[in-house]
Symmetry: C2
Amino acid sequence: MSAIPIDTGRREQVAAALRARLPERSVLSDPEDTRPYECDGLAAYRQLPMIVTLPSNEDEVLAILNVCRELNVPIVPRGAGTGLSGGALPILDGVVISTARLNRIVRVDAYARTAIVQPGVRNLAISEACAQYGLYYAPDPSSQIACTIGGNVAENSGGVHCLKYGLTVHNVLRVRVATIDGEIIELGSEALDAPGLDLLAVFIGSEGMLGIVTEVTVKLVPKPATAQVIMASFDDVVTGGDAVASVIAAGIIPAGLEMMDRMSVRMVEPFVKAGYDTDAAAILLCEADGTALEVAEEIERMTRVLRSAGATAIAVSQSEAERMRFWSGRKNAFPAAGRISPDYYCMDGTIPRKKLAQVLTGIEEMERTFGLRCSNVFHAGDGNLHPLILFDANQPGEFERAEAFGAAILALCVEVGGTITGEHGVGMEKINSMCVQFGRKELDMFLAVKRAFDVPMLLNPDKAIPTPHRCAEFGKMHVTKGALPFADLPRF
Amino acid sequence: MSAIPIDTGRREQVAAALRARLPERSVLSDPEDTRPYECDGLAAYRQLPMIVTLPSNEDEVLAILNVCRELNVPIVPRGAGTGLSGGALPILDGVVISTARLNRIVRVDAYARTAIVQPGVRNLAISEACAQYGLYYAPDPSSQIACTIGGNVAENSGGVHCLKYGLTVHNVLRVRVATIDGEIIELGSEALDAPGLDLLAVFIGSEGMLGIVTEVTVKLVPKPATAQVIMASFDDVVTGGDAVASVIAAGIIPAGLEMMDRMSVRMVEPFVKAGYDTDAAAILLCEADGTALEVAEEIERMTRVLRSAGATAIAVSQSEAERMRFWSGRKNAFPAAGRISPDYYCMDGTIPRKKLAQVLTGIEEMERTFGLRCSNVFHAGDGNLHPLILFDANQPGEFERAEAFGAAILALCVEVGGTITGEHGVGMEKINSMCVQFGRKELDMFLAVKRAFDVPMLLNPDKAIPTPHRCAEFGKMHVTKGALPFADLPRF
């Protein structure tokens, strides 16, 4: 909760200007009403916004942008608020634009295999709307029941199937965007390539810094005829990590390739009863999808590779119900953590696949260094880790230790050639880690491109891309502890 | 050839500054030496450059950029010069940076499946260098024997396999770039996603306007165990076009899906003896690759779909030699055109797949309107057309008619929801068509992003993105003919 009070005079001025241009009940300024918007999925950070707006159409979005530009008010766009990096954290003197009322599926074109939807449409609602044509929208973040396509565009969301089917950027064809200048631009096209600069790719994953999306054209893919999943057990995590590399090296691209370590398995099993091997040090879930023949062949090949990579036990789902049960454990790993630990901190980093074993060993060492447990669940196929650091916020110092543990994991990811985020974005949470990931020249280039879209720098400012000042402060913070920058992070 | 003479004083000044910072024989300023650089694959446009530079390493690239920035000299980067849209067309008072000497394969990592190469390395040389590991670099433009990876990055090149394996943007992980400020930045990473703005995607296809690439990290993929290709005949092009849609609608993503109309087939067959059906109005080539079982199943499914879509004859390659022969006809379509027509103009547009039949009919009508023949060869699977307009430059007015015919095809592409380029880029050739494709707001956004990378606007200026002035002139050109802009282009 914010300690600094909102300037009520300013609030009334901006609210009045917004109310003059918007229908009734589209502008919330009473703290009672704006309280639900004070955080997103990264609930450790909270800030009551000055005002929340709820536009119902593109013209209302433009009206809000015009008011904010004229009055120099910073803007934070917000989908379902399920983001895990604080990208939708409000600003004390800012306006939140909620896409909650922009929730219409405009058109499904089964022939062209596209759907045009407003940004507030839920991820899963798209697949539900095209199920009748045997089509679905591929990216499936864990939050897909709740999260919106606008938020997916902002964060370039992935999911357990993104190894085979790609991230949001690979599944969105076009966006309509309201700019801070109060104009509408369209980025992308239904064609495979587009002339001009690929601003669609820049926009996807830009965390609300470049414009407000008002419409999204997504690609739909045919639902595979069938799917089966293998659960393979390993005696140690390093062997499991190497097995992932072996599957990929064999030229197989599984529809899903997930790994869970013993702690995750033991956390989940009593809760979900997925049928997991609780004696294994790690399990792999490897899915094949396609026609019955394709699936049978791929399952057979994967089984062979996993066995020779050292799997101690292998189970293959024998029915759709069993397949869903195998997945339910993985999908419920985060809620399960809540049952055994008062608090948990879900990290998100990406590493080259071949470094899996090294990073897992590193995280094990960090558990001792920081005196906290960490369970590992991850999209192994694309090297996207989701370490869950368990802590108790009521124990003095544990939250800080958890944060330092998380930063150390990210530093290790960068050290082995990976990145500080896989699919959760930078937001507020990892803005300091961006100073570790990038040099000043790259960060300046990011800011220059942001300025090309947003001259007054009002769109979700101070998120995602650190300013030189911020990186200098971050560096100083470390230097003042008597060491060089980052030298106080554990090295491996 | 340029009618305007180069200012020799200026040339000597710039050449001297360059020679002071570069090794001997890296700076060409004598017209005898610079003549080979006066055009690229779009040979109808020619311009002798003021100076050509041949850097051998990154430091020399930076030195050239520093001199050009200090002396305000525009720069045109150049790979093998195989580009078809004039992207490497020199500038009268500009410097060409040739990547010919930046031709080292730095490292192949078979385990990570990546290769790090300098920009002047030929596309096919990458695959040759990793053949020993059973890996290859997937994008295969027709010019792959000659064209360079730097040029592929500039144009976001595709090829006959890009439907399944993606364009350059999907196969490049990282680029090192020398900026106009004389700095080195790295865009992208080896991870699936990267934090910050996706400037890698913006850079790929940016036609040399944002920086000079000095190193490229590409993704390698395993060579499929086997492949087979179907040749299917159709009685009319519309049925053939619809069959393409049916294959895709059946959920099949062929490794290649190419279409040739009767004129292309008859042009090619006497020359290549590919075994094509010269009685068909159109033929489709549909390739399956993968394991033997996968290929057998996909060939069987595709055969079924093609038959029920109206194929009159179907032949399946029975050996690798036959498969190569089927492809050789397609790959030699352009040289074959040279045998039956003094000149030809290869267009490149992209349309939604479902509009194939409509656009083919439109092009047929245009043949009558413009009094020129057009043979159609295209990447049907991804809707990327390559109409070959045949003409004789020695007949007065034919070149102009061919250009107008090409512009009309592109206008039709835009009208049906497609784009003015598939994989050849905008360059010089299509800069006016960009005014048809985009509104001023989008073009201004492109220019703003260009300016973020290139404040002095020296990198390949006046290519790819038209200025407001240029679009105004283009509009006026059409208006002065007594009609609204573009109204003098044939409409369908």
